[in-house]
Symmetry: C3
Subunit: 461 residues, 3 copies
Amino acid sequence: MGQTLKRWVRGVALLPAFALTGALAYAQDADLEARLSALEESVSGSASSYVDNSYLFLIGGLIVMFMAAGFMCLEVGLVRSKNAAMQSMKNVLLYAVAGLMFWVVGYNMAYPGSTILGGLLGTTPGIWSGGDLGVESDAGYAPASDWFFQMVFVATAASIVSGTVAERVKLWGFLAFTAVLTAFIYPVVVSWEWGGGYLDSAWAFSDFAGSTLVHSVGGWAALVGAIIIGPRTGKYFGKQVHAMPGSNIPLAGLGTFILWFGWFGFNGASQLAAGTVPDINSVAQIFANTNMGAVGGTLGAMIMTAILYKGKVDATMVFNGALGGLVSITAEPLTPTMGQAVLIGGVGGVLAVLTVPLLDKVKIDDVVGAIPVHLVCGIWGTMIVPATHGMAIVPNEAGDPNFVGQFVGVALTAVFVSAASLVVWLALKFTIGVRATEEEEMMGMDKAEVGLEAYPDFTAG
Amino acid sequence: MGQTLKRWVRGVALLPAFALTGALAYAQDADLEARLSALEESVSGSASSYVDNSYLFLIGGLIVMFMAAGFMCLEVGLVRSKNAAMQSMKNVLLYAVAGLMFWVVGYNMAYPGSTILGGLLGTTPGIWSGGDLGVESDAGYAPASDWFFQMVFVATAASIVSGTVAERVKLWGFLAFTAVLTAFIYPVVVSWEWGGGYLDSAWAFSDFAGSTLVHSVGGWAALVGAIIIGPRTGKYFGKQVHAMPGSNIPLAGLGTFILWFGWFGFNGASQLAAGTVPDINSVAQIFANTNMGAVGGTLGAMIMTAILYKGKVDATMVFNGALGGLVSITAEPLTPTMGQAVLIGGVGGVLAVLTVPLLDKVKIDDVVGAIPVHLVCGIWGTMIVPATHGMAIVPNEAGDPNFVGQFVGVALTAVFVSAASLVVWLALKFTIGVRATEEEEMMGMDKAEVGLEAYPDFTAG
Amino acid sequence: MGQTLKRWVRGVALLPAFALTGALAYAQDADLEARLSALEESVSGSASSYVDNSYLFLIGGLIVMFMAAGFMCLEVGLVRSKNAAMQSMKNVLLYAVAGLMFWVVGYNMAYPGSTILGGLLGTTPGIWSGGDLGVESDAGYAPASDWFFQMVFVATAASIVSGTVAERVKLWGFLAFTAVLTAFIYPVVVSWEWGGGYLDSAWAFSDFAGSTLVHSVGGWAALVGAIIIGPRTGKYFGKQVHAMPGSNIPLAGLGTFILWFGWFGFNGASQLAAGTVPDINSVAQIFANTNMGAVGGTLGAMIMTAILYKGKVDATMVFNGALGGLVSITAEPLTPTMGQAVLIGGVGGVLAVLTVPLLDKVKIDDVVGAIPVHLVCGIWGTMIVPATHGMAIVPNEAGDPNFVGQFVGVALTAVFVSAASLVVWLALKFTIGVRATEEEEMMGMDKAEVGLEAYPDFTAG
């Protein structure tokens, strides 16, 4: 206090000098102002957060894009060698078709400017035309980085269908279905939630990275496809199930690891921002939780098969368990603790194993087990979201995820995707055809539709 | 206005107090100055743009490095099983040789301090020695990040040759050619354009990420190699072409996806900067356009083969179509619209399919179709650049890409690389040899030069 | 000078005006202050360095995670086809077990709050519980990004063991060993150095990215395992060594490239920070040096096998040479020049080739050559560190790496890991068992423990 007083006294005595310092201060201010302006420009020019966010989409999207290779390896490894070239090619083609359709109509359908029917349908479909490269987008990231990231998600949904209907679907029928799925069916469902539509606004539905929006959508489309197309010839005799073992288990294993790898982008970049401390902390936690979900699924499936098969562990079940764990943690990879992530994934892994014989019982032939992994675990992962969010039962004012809302989301997706898929599969069945002839199937799709063999040096003509 | 006047009046009346505030302002200025200095240091220390740019090179380079694995898979999948170990090993060895030579001489040859012969030859070849780690490089990115990024490009050029001359080239001859290609031939061409030499200064030649500089260079070297080394024994009988199908189509499919994946780094990081809004917007748009180029190529090849083969779709053609689309969009992945990118890539895919029989007609044996993909599409992609840049015919004052300049670049590269490759392949032919004996070829390169088999459990001894 | 005087005179004459400017300066200050505050918040909010560092861990960790796929491909390619499904599955399972155990106990054991026994043992083992997502961690990066990065390292150590003991180890015994290795053995060694314990404080031991801490630890555990479990039935008859060639050399080649790819994250992200100019420069140089180490190893092994086998080059030796070069450069990838990196890696590649027959001489059966690559090259790389750091012989005041300190680190790791592994392998041998029966081994682990075949279409039942 005395100090302060002294400073005041000295100040008053030195008034003229202070007047002088006023002038100096003014000069100095000009200098400060110049430096501040330069700094502002530099900081704004370097656009740190904007760049960080865009990098998140680009790198995340890049490794999700690589999941297309993972699906290819997994599916090719699980089909018989006479269909392996077809399956390889089909996975490249579906990725191309998905990209084309999502540009032509899908993206603007999923993220519409406005909606009708209470948020059930977007009204500005059409070609996505990019943004102005010289301008900072209001969204806080480069426009094309978002398009790219969303596009690789739609390809994932299409890849799921590809595995289920393998070894007997006709190429052109499959590609036509893929076109409709990626142009309309998937985008409509996405518009309800990520596009801010009905499920988001009316039910506080919550699906962080797509257990329902991506995986269940693919799963329902695959299920309906498997029913319409029918099982592979010879798969079921009365009550007997004839095993048709995959021809390249190591390739399926590699596919599993590629998908696990890509899932860090799938979930991590779904944080949608990485330029601040809380955002990057969250991305990191999502990485850790995503891994633990897969760990739970892997070990859950391992334990389950060891129990069912008396100590033997089925490799394909372990691979599907890992993927089931990943699908399960996808609806909410941020709020669970690491232990909860293991548990959520673990239940997913067990479900993936237990659902396989149920499908066989009703003679639905799912070649790679995509329905257990993507549909069943997708539903499980979605329904468990409120458990790490305060356990709300119904929508509340805070907009918390709630069990009823989650159920509505799951059910609405089920009804819409099943119905739409049914219409499309049936329309294709009665026009260009979706099912290879028995002769073609026996010969293998490679000879029938691709005109070359996958492994000509190893398999007898 | 009255308000302002009042403030002035009050100000004059309160002169002594104002003098005091001058003193306070001075004190506050010191505080502001300290905070500003701290902030300046922090911003400069965090070096946002510098870090962002370096990350672009490192991450881009990393996934371009992985393209080496993609070429391996593609090529190994398209050779017969008796040469698959050789092809695997050769791809690892060529990547190592390329890295060594580009360090010893290539990098400083491609980016010389000064040039002679009107910019046709750099004058400071020699070992690249890195930079001072503690200092911010004037280039705006970490020096070694650029070396790394450039090095993985030269490895790409070498990988292209490897596929064409597979199944009959001798290991040592091939590696010797790779050494010369990566130390001299490729760097000289790069110096003309990216090194700021003749093509850049005299013709405003434009090749964003290397349709000509990387892919055509590899393509010409491969073409001359295929001619000098000759076709595989038994490939051509008179006018008949004997098909020698690849032994592992799924592996070729995986290779295609790995290359597609890596291409986002190839083109995206060729923006060379990512630390500002326009730069990161551009990187993102390049990602989207690169994908659409590949989509066009894939679907173009699919449609083309379906027409040619009556509804069947050739898997290897689809893979090459995707790659052809990617090569085509590489010369300019930024300025085209998404639709133009599909078109540019689509023409590339069609060209890749149509060129294969032409090569067979003149008995040039290109095992994996690298010449259609990398050379033909490389030329196409380069020639179409001015179409999305204002259609200039000749060099203008604005330095726009122009058709004549593009043609000069393509032609000069053709002449130089063909001539240099011819000299080197011939020199090797008459010294250490480039062609396996017929006996070695029949036995397979694996037994002849590697001393083990690729798939010993599957193929009869 | 006259100018300055004039300004002073003018200043005094205009005192009242100056007093006014004082007032203006004050007002302007308030404006400046507001702008400065906003900027400070923006810079701190965008948290540039914090984000950059976290990105380094996440992206680095991501591609190190992918090394799990690389080890799978390498090992599956080098076992016989009857054990390929087992080897695929085992690699997925070990990655899951490692993640689980490192969360439950390993991470907090490796990075303990305090230590006892002079830094030999951490005292706060237990579950890793993450951090507060809303808060900037004092460490300068997102907490979970570090957990993720460290976790993928422990998985690497476990993968090394998997290859050596392949084709005869029992699944449950192997997984139990993996659990102990990743929960206790590896974390204890890491705590001595990266956790700031005994080796770091007492010996200035230096191991940048884990030549000893990761690779030797895995190597010693593998060596002891190979001795306890014994060689594959039929591998050694008296002095004869029976070759058991790998069944899928291209897959091993792909694995090599995946590992090479992942190693950029392994070494590069071990810089631990990327948010400043010196840090990102260093990360970039580490990329370049890591590549040159692999180049040296590849070419060293190529030359060595060409000499030993009269011109033939062994593909698996080349692959292991690349990996040996990478392990060798891992202990210090920053300070060597590019040329030194080639040399260090080159010696590693030669050592990898020369050690294989020595192991066979003492009948230690290492299926994939993991002991030469990870243990021998790990020791070599660690011992050569002081050579690029001033060649100190003993610890000095500057804390430089020194030959005696490096030897102590290598020796202590050898003693501890060997002893601990011996106890665990023996305990497992006499309880759940670690060795398949001769009958199971003949049948193949796939039929014995997995219940399906890896390649059912290609191998006779």
